[in-house]
């Protein structure tokens, strides 16, 4: 390895060093309690995916360049250079990690392996070894955000077509999808594609909410890529939009990481206090159901329904009960998975792994526990408020022939509002709706 490359990698780790990272690197006792907490390790029994091993690769470099003890006795600490072999291992273990933080939950010292992983990704990016696909997706999102005027007309045209669908479904000719509405109470940040706009628009219109739709999407590949600057810039676009419009709440759609980025990370990255709250769409819908602002049939969903806690809004975001309350309000035959809430198994689809084909094998294998959990419920519908989880569980559904309907919670709500299946909830309709935006 060339000296300059080495210095770049070490310098990057130094820049990412903070109190928590330093403590995590210093105190791990390698008890390996985390091994049985990680869905990837449990499913594959491959050391690459053992959380303490993932961190140990960063720790080896940390020991060599950031501790006197490691420099004095490198053999004792297995202190190492970030050579080609280490970087190869680091790449496989790092980008495969879904960031579910189940290992942290079970760790007796609460070591946040994902936080170590974020430093590992920074090292890989510095070495020119960041995941290409995630990097391209992040850059594409930045390009789109920087050149929004180029896309504006097409986007607005797409929104108008969805608006027409909303009017058809609700039989309400005044239903609308407002864009750029100054002074609206809420800015709704959706995903690319109409499937996350249509059901929300139906619900907002029925609740007579004061809302406006963001021109920007919630997904944040900068976060998955491991570049906080890119992640901040991607989120900044809708945060700035919210400030400009003077909204009281930014409502993030059913997307796990987007909610965590906006609610838990953005202010720290931007070093700025936002003049509005960040909420998850299911918090809003739960409010509407409980306040009676939308009418739902308590027996609207007749099938047996279960709920998947996405790691980023559950264990890492704190939203456990609102989605359950919503589902229970419309589906009398609700059954929870075991384990659930903070102990929920990751489905295996987080961290951007669904976008990286090279990890397909481990991704699908790592869904084994989720498959068993779902089978044990006997449910035929899975309510799932995260796009990546839905993609993963959808694929598991096909591979394992589970015969499951995997749907966003808000789609189930629309179903229970008596409009029939909302466009976007069935495969064909969703494909058609996707083509709109």
């Amino acid at each position: 390895m060339e000296k300059q490359e080495l210095e770049t990698i070490i310098g990057t780790l130094g820049k990412r060093m903070n109190r928590q990272l330093k403590e995590y690197l210093d105190v791990c006792v390698r008890c390996a309690i985390c091994k049985d907490a990680c869905h990837q390790y449990v499913a594959t029994q491959d050391m690459t995916y053992l959380p303490a091993h993932r961190a140990e690769l960063v720790r080896a470099v940390y020991r060599k360049y950031f501790t006197k003890a490691g420099q004095f006795m490198p053999a004792v600490y297995e202190a190492r250079d970030p050579d080609e072999h280490l970087l190869d291992d680091l790449y496989r273990s790092t980008y495969a990690c879904t960031g579910c933080r189940r290992c942290m939950y079970y760790c007796p010292f609460s070591i946040d392996t994902q936080w170590v992983i974020s430093a590992a990704k920074a090292m890989l990016i510095a070495a020119g070894r960041g995941n290409e696909m995630l990097g391209q997706l992040a850059d594409a999102a930045l390009f789109k955000g920087d050149n929004i005027e180029m896309f504006r007309d097409n986007l607005v045209e797409g929104f108008r077509e969805i608006e027409t669908q909303v009017r058809d479904i609700t039989k309400n000719p005044e239903a609308e999808i407002p864009v750029d509405r100054q002074g609206a109470d809420m800015l709704y940040v959706a995903l690319a594609g109409s499937h996350s706009i249509l059901p929300a628009a139906i619900i907002f219109n029925e609740a007579k909410a004061s809302w406006t739709l963001s021109m920007f999407e919630a997904a944040n590949y900068g976060f998955f890529f491991g570049d906080p600057d890119k992640a901040r810039l991607i989120a900044k676009r809708f945060m700035d939009e919210a400030k400009r419009l003077g909204v009281k709440e930014v409502v993030i759609t059913e997307c796990g990481h987007a909610y965590r980025v906006a609610e838990l990370f953005y202010e720290a990255w931007a070093k700025e206090r936002m003049p509005f709250k960040v909420v998850h769409i299911l918090e809003v819908i739960d409010r509407y159901v409980k306040e009676g602002r939308i009418k739902v049939d308590p027996r609207g969903i007749r099938e047996k329904v279960t709920y998947h806690d996405p790691c980023q809004i559950g264990r890492n975001g704190g939203i456990y009960e609102q989605p359950r309350d919503i589902v229970k309000a419309i589906a009398p035959d609700f059954v929870d998975m075991t384990p659930n809430r903070e102990k929920q198994w990751c489905c295996g689809g987080g961290g951007g792994i669904v976008a990286m084909e090279e990890f397909n094998e481990v991704r699908l294998k790592s869904g084994d526990m989720k498959v068993e959990q779902i089978k044990a419920t006997g449910a035929s519908v899975l309510a799932c408020p995260c796009e990546n989880c839905r993609l993963q569980i959808g694929e598991l559904n096909e591979v394992h022939d589970l015969g499951l309907r995997v749907v966003p919670v808000m789609d189930l709500v629309v179903e229970a509002m008596g409009f029939g299946h909302a466009a976007g909830t069935t495969g064909d309709e969703r494909d058609a709706a996707e083509a709109v935006v």
């Binding site: 109190r19 210093d26 006792v29 029994q45 760790c107 936080w115 559950g314 264990r315 903070e342």
Partner: protein, 240 residues
Amino acid sequence: MDLFSFLVSGIGVYVALVVFTLGMAWRVWQWMRTPKSPVRLGLFPKPKSGLGRFGKLLKDTFIAPQSVEQAAPLMAAAYAFHLAALGAFVGHLRLVHEFTPLVSILGVEGMNTFAAWSGGIAGVVMLLAILFWIGRRTSGAYKNLSTPEDFLLLGLLLGVVLLGDHLRFVGGLHAATYEAWFASLVALRPAFPPALAASATRWALDWHMLFVDAFLIYFPFSKLTHAIGAFTGNLVRSSD
């Protein structure tokens, strides 16, 4: 005191205590001077009040119920070892001063019997826990994950405990004998009392102290800083 005794049971004790104290202070200072993570790293659910968070911090650190759920045998060994080590530490305070209130309750013989049993049990429990940990690190994922540091620490602990157990079960010397040696250390004039100097088990004390010294000197530069890191890590888990 011969040279070896002087080095390990005399001057070595001071060196170990100084390195341990300054080393731990330096380690904590290193942590404290590094800026905190800019983003919130807590896990949910978490208590809403400060008192609740403090309670959870204590529970997560001293009981770690979620770790028990995941790895009951390991955590049982950890509980047993840490409690026994605490007991052994408290028992060693007899070297500073006799536990007079206990003696007045139990009587001199009763106190000696109690000390023999409690110290013996603590020593055996620690030995079993260490053997369990060593065994655990010799196969499968645990072996692959282990580094020389893990075995070095277990080796040092094994030395401390084995020789401590030897002194407890074979040595046959009364606490008062060790108390006199300890008093000489406090007075900065380390010397063995005649009974200890003439004892056939003096070598065991010297080797016990060699391992203790090495363990204390190594402590601040090892993963054993989890003694403090467990609190700070678990605090972050529940922090806002």
